[in-house]
């Protein structure tokens, strides 16, 4: 399966990547492309292979077969990573370095880095610049990890679950930064459990499960592909109905998930169900996601 959306000038690319850890096949032929000016959300349940895919893309793991490229180069070579900023999933800083010292160390690796004070200001860390990085709160450490991804003024940013542990306010602020980065032509690969985040930010969504890409497209396409709608109604009873994926019942109040809401409503009328309070909504990405991954999320 390929999800090459726009031609050859990808900033980051996986081609047919297989990766096995002992008996576990973490990746089973993954293709992925990231282009300038787009944000690709990599979605999948825990253990789907998201972090392994990111690791291969960043040269931290070698694929068994297939290839990874960053700006056309082998990502295991440090120079290939010079235009990429990274926020790892697991974050931790030494308690014997200050925030500013950590930022300064990271900046040294890039030819045209952002100014330390401006960078810290952008992520609301200006007032903790002199504090020991290891002593920051979890949310502050997470923000610092995100700030470090932008320290080198990168062309591409890879973020592995960047907003887990952030409060709503901090998450919104991060979204603003990411949006303006993408609007300026930056490329972002984001793995996330917050499907709201993918809906808010992503130009494309890639769904990975069991080490393979099972769906990809725009957020709308992903939802349309599964065509899932949610039908709420109250009724004294329900007959067997066509095209219903799942039924949630609660005291005469029903929520039905269906691929064809028109057909469902017609069937309800034809069978004389005395329903009230009918509401039809498009399913959220989260619900589409649950269906795509067979409920494994």
């Amino acid at each position: 399966m390929t999800n090459d959306a726009r031609g050859p000038q990808a900033v980051a690319e996986l081609r047919g990547v297989h990766k096995r850890y002992g008996r576990v096949e973490a990746l089973r032929g993954v293709d992925l492309q990231l282009h300038p000016g787009e944000l690709v959300a990599l979605l999948g349940p825990n253990g789907a292979g998201k972090t392994t895919a990111v690791g291969v893309l960043l040269g931290q793991r070698r694929p068994d077969t297939g290839s990874a490229r960053l700006f056309g180069r082998d990502p295991t070579r440090p120079a290939a990573r010079r235009s990429v900023g990274v926020t790892p999933q697991e974050v931790g800083f030494p308690d014997n370095l200050t925030v500013a010292e950590v930022v300064d160390l990271v900046r040294v690796h890039y030819p045209d880095p952002a100014a330390t004070a401006a960078l810290l200001g952008r992520f609301g860390l200006a007032e903790v610049a002199g504090r020991r990085a290891g002593g920051l709160s979890g949310g502050q450490q997470r923000r610092l990890a995100v700030a470090l991804a932008f320290a080198g003024q990168p062309q591409a940013v890879v973020m592995d679950e960047p907003t887990s542990g952030l409060d709503v306010e901090a998450r919104r602020r991060l979204w603003e930064v990411v949006r303006s980065f993408v609007a300026d032509g930056g490329a972002v690969l984001l793995t996330t459990h917050y499907l709201e985040e993918a809906q808010a930010l992503a130009s494309r969504v890639v769904v990975i499960a069991g080490g393979a890409i099972i769906a990809h497209g725009s957020v709308e396409e992903i939802v349309a592909r599964v065509g899932l709608s949610r039908v709420h109604l109250q009724a004294p009873w329900l007959p067997d109905l066509p095209a219903v994926t799942r039924v949630e019942a609660n005291n005469g109040s029903y929520t039905l998930y269906t691929a064809d809401p028109d057909e469902l409503v017609r069937a309800l009328s034809l069978q004389g169900v005395a329903f009230t309070g009918l509401q039809v909504e498009r399913a959220s990405l989260e619900e589409a996601f649950v269906r795509l991954t067979g409920g494994a999320a």
């Binding site: 990573r81 790892p88 697991e90 931790g92 800083f93 030494p94 370095l97 040294v108 690796h109 890039y110």
Partner: protein, 243 residues
């Protein structure tokens, strides 16, 4: 080079803020020299012991900066982050070696300056360069040992292992007393230890005697052994964390 220097500077800052590192490296060798050797008037003895304690100080830097440092860092999220940065393993090692060289020089200088202040030590003007080179050569050998320790010892075991190896190798290698004063049972092992071999070439350099080829070959053998262990451990660590 700029990147290696930045890593060296960062390492140095981190170690300067770690009392657990500064105590064994900068404080203990000078303190032990004073407590156990005290003030003496025999020029040959106090000069010999000054050279021995300077080696012990450098050994501490090798085992604590490389051994404990690497073992404690290599499983951390911070280390994993640093590996993603556009920096090669060689640049990072260069930074670590630069920082260790600064601390090793400082640790040896503490002992040497103190010895000159409290004792009638005497090193002939033309012996300083050979002595420095001998310290440097042995320093490289024990640094490789420290790196091997760093990649093979677990995070929890590293400090205890480094402390034990540091003390035992000093005692058995004859760095705390004259080798002739060691208990007779140690003669079975002492001549083969890296600290003793290092001591032999260093004492000869300080006193203007010629060094023996056998001692140099012994040191070389340790260097090769430690280097193989270090490289093997490094590869194993990469395989565990980054395969």
């Amino acid at each position: 080079m700029r990147i290696a220097l930045a890593h060296g500077k960062t390492q140095t800052l981190q170690h300067l803020r770690s009392p657990g590192y500064l105590l064994p490296t900068l404080a203990l060798p000078g303190l032990f020299y004073f407590l156990f050797e005290g003030q003496d008037s025999e020029v040959g003895l106090v000069t010999h012991l000054m050279a021995s304690y300077a080696m012990w100080a450098i050994l501490g830097v090798a085992f604590f900066q490389f051994g404990v440092g690497i073992a404690e860092e290599r499983t951390t999220a911070w280390e994993r982050f640093l590996r993603i940065l556009p920096v090669s393993a060689g640049q990072r090692l260069a930074g670590r070696v630069l920082s260790a060289a600064v601390f090793a020089a400082a640790a040896a200088a503490v002992v040497i300056v103190e010895a000159h202040l409290v004792n009638p030590v005497s090193v002939a003007a033309d012996r300083w360069l050979p002595w420095t080179l001998a310290l440097l050569a042995g320093g490289v050998v024990v640094a490789l040992g420290g790196i091997a320790m760093g990649y093979w010892a677990s995070r929890r075991a590293a400090t205890a292992l480094a402390m034990l190896a540091w003390l035992l190798l000093a005692y058995l290698g004859g760095l705390w007393a004259l080798p002739a004063e060691l208990p007779s049972w140690t003669e079975e092992v002492s001549p083969y230890l890296p600290t003793r071999l290092w001591g032999e070439v260093t004492w000869a350099a300080v006193q203007g005697r010629s060094t023996s080829l056998g001692d140099w070959l012994g040191l070389l053998a340790w260097a090769v052994g430690f280097a193989v262990l270090a490289l093997w451990g490094y590869r194993r660590d990469e395989g565990t964390n980054y395969r």
